[in-house]
């Protein structure tokens, strides 16, 4: 890898490594894909589709709607409702809002009947009643996949926690959630995706962070950090979210996802298939 392109988008740092610098037309394609995704799904801008739909209404479904919301439906089933795409108001309630006020009020649960309120049939995204759509459980992974598809040849697309690798072996340290100087393990990814999620990644107060249990609207307390390895970044991102809940290991198993997670009591759990035996994963336990 000799060429690195760094930029900020969707509220996070991106880094794309390729053997040669990316030509301008591909950079424009990448920027355009990210802008389109942000315009559809950002909770943090007033002119986005999800902001315009918040009072209720309908609109032509953006290209990623069906794949992402189908995955949400499965995540919701697997986790008994802990993952829910109408969790946006719960996040806003805790202060994780468009203004980043970070002032928490009492938690509110996301609407448990979200499947009745939100539909995405026949190319139409329809929301009945007021709610804020939040695709944070897997949206960034989806966008990383989209961006990776636009880049020909070997490449590493790294959106600060969501990583998609093609043809370039990457040794990746799994950062200790309580000590950024240390790693709890190392994995090697050659073709595929690794997504990391940490409760302290976006934390703003007494146990307040961005991974909520939609059933209560309160932040998850038992899991500190998760890492998931899958073919696509969306699949890895979804599993990394599911692993914050008790059903996560079963969800990961059902989707062929290998994973590591660290609990808030200091324990680590993992299921890495044969990666340790093959020398593609190591845990410092």
């Amino acid at each position: 890898m000799t060429a690195t392109w760094r930029f900020d988008a969707i509220g996070t740092g991106w880094r794309i490594d390729t053997p040669e610098p990316l030509p301008e037309d591909i950079r424009e394609d990448v920027s355009g894909a990210i802008a389109a995704f942000d315009a559809a799904w950002s909770r943090f801008r007033g002119d986005s589709l999800v902001a315009r739909l918040a009072p209720g209404g309908e609109a032509p479904a953006p290209p990623d709607a069906a794949d992402m919301l189908d995955a949400y439906a499965e995540l919701g089933r697997a986790t008994g409702g802990a993952v829910n795409p109408l969790v946006g108001a719960s996040l806003e309630r805790l202060g994780y809002d468009a203004a980043y006020s970070l002032r928490a009020q009492d938690p509110v649960a996301a609407p448990a009947d979200w499947r009745a309120r939100l539909t995405w049939r026949d190319g139409t995204l329809r929301l009945r009643g007021r709610a804020t759509i939040d695709v944070g459980a897997l949206g960034k992974g989806r966008l990383v996949d989209r961006v990776a598809e636009l880049i020909p040849g070997p490449a590493v697309v790294d959106a600060s926690g969501d990583l998609r690798v093609r043809g370039v072996p990457q040794r990746v340290a799994l950062e200790h959630p309580y000590d950024p100087r240390r790693a709890i393990g190392v994995v090697t990814v050659t073709d595929g995706a690794l997504c990391a999620s940490a409760a302290n990644r976006r934390a703003w107060g007494d146990g307040l962070h961005h991974v909520l249990d939609a059933r209560t609207g309160a932040p998850v307390r038992t899991v500190a950090a998760t890492w998931a390895l899958a073919e696509t970044a969306m699949s890895a991102d979804a599993a990394a979210t599911a692993l914050f809940f008790e059903a996560g290991p079963e969800y990961a198993h059902a989707h062929g996802v290998d994973w590591v997670r660290m609990l808030t009591d200091g324990r680590a759990e993992w299921s890495l298939g044969s990666r340790i035996e093959r020398g593609e994963a190591e845990l410092f336990t």
Partner: protein
């Protein structure tokens, strides 16, 4: 259940939660009643330092509701020179039944993960929590300033 994880944790990771604590049954900014753990320099008085975090032992307790139960957990953190030298978590936050049920999908469990210094590892990149968005970090900075005022 009482578990102790001894790690050389950086202040930013754990103590940020304590320093910013705003609600709940939390002891904020003051050492717990017990003596600081051994190795704190032999002084029973917390010593101030540049960053404003005093050495000592800090305890925070919290309770939260799961769909099934109300769980409580107590976290005790020992700070020495802005470094967390010990973390002790009391309480078993997950129901035993679900743990056994999920056990068949969990290949390995370690009671304690100390980790390895990233500088000692040859890696291409790091996946974790230290990198996050500019807007978010700005907001955190603002809150810390508000908290210090």
């Amino acid at each position: 259940m009482n578990r102790s994880a001894r790690t050389g944790a950086a202040l930013a990771g754990v103590a940020g939660v304590i320093a910013l604590a705003g609600c709940g049954a939390v002891t904020v900014g003051a050492p717990a009643e017990e003596e600081p753990s051994s190795g704190a320099g032999g002084s029973s008085e917390p010593s101030a330092n540049e960053a404003g975090y005093a050495d000592g032992t800090y305890t925070a307790e919290g309770s939260y509701q799961t769909p099934e139960t109300i769980e409580t957990v107590s976290v005790t953190v020992t700070l020495e020179d802005d470094v967390v030298t010990a973390v002790e978590v009391t309480g078993d936050p997950q129901a035993r039944e679900s743990r056994q049920y999920q056990g068949q999908f969990i290949a390995g469990i370690a009671d304690e993960v100390v980790g390895v210094d990233i500088d000692d590892l040859a890696v291409d990149r790091v996946a974790g929590s230290s990198l996050t968005s500019g807007g978010f970090n700005e907001a955190i900075k603002r809150i810390k300033q508000d908290a210090a005022a």
